[in-house]
């Protein structure tokens, strides 16, 4: 039994004629501490799967387990606790609070998490020790994404879920962010799941999952992940 297991998980949006099967009997497993990359064309159902895993959305059918928890059986308040304690989320568009400084955005996570790390330390970890008191609008895209990662990490989550974290960044800053994510995976022993369009990025993962039309078409273990700086963009 893997740390994360998807067993015949489906997600159907809408009903009747207009129903869309965004995830169709998805089944896969991810081991603890792995850095897993999910690949697939647009509309393949990647985000759907990640949202289900992160407890942001409820599956139509099937079972999702993370460790000893069964996510699919949870009701809303339990899902909230699950997000609060176990999951860190990183978005393509950062979703920082514009009226909070970098430090305060990270503190936002500490407010709800009992095992949180020190926000200033985490920001230093992501290389932003000198920008603690800047507002998001005063930071570059890459810096904002690093704040967003710091905010996710601050909760010290077991799972770090990233939906196209480099989607809005140029290749150089993108590489920095990916580099950070691999380091997190190693140092904090966090299980990291990264969604991307970019097949070349996939080479950095311990595990690569390919999706198409709402199904998993390939789930391979990569025994020799490529270092981020060695990836050809």
């Amino acid at each position: 039994m893997s740390y994360i297991t998807f067993d015949q998980v489906s997600k159907v949006y809408g009903t009747g004629e207009t129903a869309v099967r965004a995830a169709d009997q998805v089944t896969f497993g991810i081991e603890q501490g792995e850095l897993c990359v999910v690949l697939g064309p647009s509309g393949a159902g990647k985000t759907t799967v990640l949202n289900l895993l992160g407890g942001m959305d409820k599956a139509t059918g099937g079972t999702i387990r993370v460790g000893d928890k069964t996510i699919t059986g949870m009701r809303s308040p339990q899902l909230t606790d699950y997000r609060r304690l176990d999951v860190g989320f990183v978005f393509q568009f950062y979703n920082l609070m514009p009226n909070l400084t970098a430090l305060e955005n990270v503190e936002l996570a500490r407010q709800v998490s009992p095992k949180a790390l020190e926000p200033a330390d985490v920001l230093a970890q992501v290389g932003l020790a000198h920008r603690l008191n800047n507002f998001p609008a005063q930071l570059s895209g890459g810096e904002q994404q690093r704040v967003s990662i710091a905010r996710a990490l601050c909760k010290n989550p077991a799972l770090l879920l990233c939906d196209e974290p480099t989607g809005a960044l140029d290749s150089k800053t993108g590489a920095q962010v990916l580099e950070l994510l691999t380091r997190v995976c190693k140092e904090y022993k966090t299980t990291v799941v990264i969604i991307t369009h970019n097949a070349s990025i996939a080479q950095m993962g311990n595990r690569i999952i390919r999706m198409r039309s709402g199904t998993v078409v390939e789930n391979t273990v990569n025994d020799h992940p490529v270092k981020v700086e060695d990836i050809a963009w």
Partner: protein, 774 residues
């Protein structure tokens, strides 16, 4: 051509779909526009209904312009007045009060005995037939008095004055325009007081004592009055402006007119402000669509027209709806309240006034202007720039953070809220102004009642120091005789007469009150202190000073009824007395004038024994008793029925607050959905997010409502000034309890609405909210 048609159809469809999608916001605009015009049209329609009903009644009765009080007027006097330029018609009559012993010891009638058929102040016959000239037994009776006593046409009615009695037969029940309100004091009491009309020939032996005069249309009343006054210096001329009944009717109309212009104008202003924010947001949210339409090649005029419709359709719909509903519903509901104790035979609906159309037009114009201004800003940008999302507003430090010690102590959530409030300054400001206005309106509505109570209470419970007053007839004895006879802690007398006060700026019929110099029962000074009456002049009440502009040191002349010269006098003091247009004179000054003995018309009694009261009740010359506490209650009940209209303002204020709070709350929620979704993703529980929202709302509410306190008090002053009656001075007096209550109502209201809005957090879809940058 065909293409254009199809294109227009698509845009129209887009307009209605947009409206459907942001239904709440469009409904809010419709409602706000409707609310603004509804209150205005409703109140405007109501006072106009009152005015047109009363004035039509006056006109149909051929209301006199002057009532000339002239004991012993001769035929020659009548002819001389008739020959004055500008005079249309003159009638002479005998006017006096008669007892009706068959209907209770206290009941009396004001009898108007016309020398010939009534042409001026013609009574309106309700049942029965009018008097004929040769009818010496017939009487026309006040319908209200008849109703109160169950008197019917054909019944007999005995009139008594002193030792003389006459028996009449009721020929008809009537209404008289000059008696549109029939009250001996404050409140009509048809059981005790009414009026009746007879032929003067039926009361032979009584002299003519009153001339009633109408003027030709367009004649200047003041000039005509001056000419008649010069002709008959001893006459006391009462004009429509100083006639207690006519004036009371008209000041009632004026009061409602003034209220119409204060409250709804405020409601209108607030409504307009909210329309402004809502429309501005809506246009800004349409940025990328404006860009798309541009990119598709739509001309600027087409696009602009399309967006102007955003304002035009809902504002026209709302404003017209409000106007029509207001004009055709509120007057019907409020008329009875305003008419109060006035007896007006027919309710006449006024046409929709120009001002009402104007308000509607203004509302629509304002909405369109707001919309155009917002659109122009968006239009300036290139299509490409429009298609890119507007960068989110940057956060920044707030002023409070400079104060390190304090800022450091705040908890994280509070800091976040303070920044959030500061970041959305515009929206926060609108919400605050909304709450401010709401609180100010409620404070004002409640403060008016406070102030009226305090002002009237100050007179009857402060100025008035006696516990009972007995009104005396003309055959009263001397004050000493009563002081010897009546068992009470104190017995004092007052001699009151109607006099004509003439001064540089004009003349006015007022009450002169002569009091003993050492009197203790009228506390006329500041803070109800006892004060010595002037020994070398007169004092006047605050209201008299207000309406005439007279002040301490001014010279005036007092004309006693029947005198043909005035008595020059100097005003020595203005007494801060809240009720009455009164001239106060000391007994010593009166005695010095040698105008006759001091004969009390009223006895002021402090704690009389029951026996003393009983004896006075038996005494023939005692006409009525007045208990200050009862007078207070009466006055307040008259004012209360008037101020019942204020309940409408409470309703309007709350309605407004609801729409503002709900609308602003909704806009706030929509714009910050992303923030709330992020919190949800981070694992904030619903309760925590709602708590944060509530906290923010509470802070804004407290500040907004708090800022409304001072304007509320000021507004109370303005309104009090506007509605001030002819006889009473209202001093603004907003109590602490009122402020607290109003603020509590505003706050609870705001909190409840925010609570409703925060329920949306439950259904907030994180996935949807965070999907794309909008």
């Amino acid at each position: 051509m065909v293409n254009t048609q199809r294109g227009r159809g698509a845009l129209t469809r887009k307009l209605f779909r947009d409206m459907h999608r942001s239904a709440m916001q469009f409904v809010a605009i419709v409602l706000l526009c409707a609310l603004g015009t509804w209150v205005f049209s409703g109140l405007e329609g109501t006072w106009r209904m009152l005015e047109v009903s009363a004035e039509t009644y006056f006109a149909q009765a051929n209301l006199a312009d002057f009532w000339i009080n002239l004991p012993g007027a001769t035929k020659a006097d009548v002819d001389n007045v008739r020959n004055q330029p500008g005079v249309l018609d003159v009638q002479s009559r005998y006017t006096a009060e008669f007892d009706t012993p068959d209907y209770g010891e206290d009941a009396s009638l004001k009898v108007l005995a016309y020398a010939d058929a009534a042409r001026i102040n013609v009574p309106l016959v309700r049942t029965g037939a009018a008097l004929t000239q040769d009818d010496l037994r017939g009487i026309l009776l006040d319908e209200e008095f008849a109703k109160a006593h169950g008197i019917r046409v054909g019944d007999t009615l005995k009139l008594r004055q002193n030792t003389l009695t006459r028996v009449f037969t009721v020929r008809a029940l009537v209404l008289s325009a000059e008696q549109v309100i029939t009250a001996k004091d404050v409140m009509p009491d048809p059981l005790a007081y009414g009026y009746a009309i007879v032929n003067k020939a039926a009361l032979n032996g009584f002299p003519v004592n009153e001339l009633i005069v109408t003027l030709q249309p367009g004649v200047d009343a003041a000039q005509a009055e001056a000419r008649i006054q010069a002709l008959l210096p001893q006459a006391l001329i009462i004009t429509q402006e100083t006639h207690p009944v006519v004036q009371r009717m008209r000041s009632e109309v004026t009061m409602f007119r003034n209220m119409t212009y204060v409250f709804p104008v405020l409601a209108f202003a607030v409504a307009a402000m909210i329309v402004l924010t809502t429309l501005t947001r809506m246009i800004e949210n349409q940025r990328s669509q404006i860009g798309t339409l541009k990119a598709l090649g739509y001309g600027p005029n087409r696009i602009r027209t399309h967006y102007v419709n955003y304002a035009f359709v809902p504002s026209l719909g709302g404003a017209l709806l409000g106007q029509l509903v207001g004009h055709y519903t509120l007057p019907d509901m409020l008329y009875a309240m305003e008419v109060n104790h006035f007896i007006i035979p027919e309710r006449i609906r006024p046409p929709i006034a120009f001002t009402e159309w104007g308000m509607t037009a203004l509302m629509v114009a304002l909405s369109i202007f707001i919309c155009l201004a917002a659109y122009r800003r968006a239009e300036k940008e290139e299509a490409a720039a429009l298609l890119r999302p507007k960068p989110p507003k940057a956060g920044s430090r707030v002023l409070l953070e400079r104060w390190k010690g304090f800022w450091g102590k705040l908890n994280f959530n509070t800091k976040m809220i303070v920044r959030g409030v500061a970041r959305n300054k515009g929206r926060t400001a609108v919400a605050m102004v909304g709450l401010l206005c709401c609180n100010a309106l409620i404070i004002c509505a409640m403060g008016l009642q406070d102030s009226m109570q305090a002002s009237v209470g100050d007179y009857y419970r402060g100025t008035v120091g006696y516990s009972l007053r007995a009104d005396l007839d003309t055959d009263a004895g001397t004050l000493e005789s009563y002081q010897n006879r009546v068992d009470a802690q104190a017995v004092e007398g007052v001699m009151e007469t109607q006099v004509s006060l003439r001064y540089a700026g004009g003349s006015r019929a007022v009450l002169m009150s002569v009091l003993s110099d050492g009197q203790q029962l009228m506390r006329l000074g500041a803070n109800n202190a006892l004060i010595a009456l002037p020994t070398d002049g007169i004092a006047i009440s605050r209201k008299l000073s207000e309406v005439t502009g007279l002040a301490t040191g001014d010279s005036v002349a007092i004309w006693l009824p029947g005198d043909d010269t005035g008595i020059p006098m100097t005003i020595r003091a203005v007494y801060p007395v809240n009720i009455g247009q009164t001239v106060y004179m000391g007994k010593a000054v009166w005695d010095g004038l040698r105008k006759g003995a001091f004969t009390p018309t009223g006895l002021l009694l402090e704690s009389p024994t029951a026996l003393a009261v009983h004896q006075l009740e038996q005494a023939r010359e005692v006409a009525a008793f007045k208990d200050p506490e009862a007078q207070y209650t009466l006055t307040m009940s008259v004012l209360d029925s008037t101020t019942a209209v204020f309940s409408l303002m409470y309703a309007a204020a709350l309605g407004l607050a609801f729409v503002i709070c709900y609308n602003m709350g909704l806009i706030n929620f929509t714009e910050r959905t992303r923030d709330y979704a992020t919190l949800k993703v981070l694992g904030y529980h619903q309760k925590e997010i709602r708590g944060l929202m509530m906290w923010e709302n509470n802070i804004v509410t407290l500040i907004g409502a708090g800022l409304g306190i001072v304007p509320g008090i000021l507004l109370t002053r303005v309104v009090l000034d506007a509605i001030g009656s002819e006889s009473t001075v209202f001093i603004a007096n907003v109590t602490f309890v009122t402020i607290l209550t109003a603020t509590a109502i505003t706050s609870v209201f705001s909190v409840l609405i925010e609570w409703m809005i925060t329920r949306k957090v439950r259904t907030l879809d994180m996935v949807e909210a965070l999907k794309s940058v909008e």
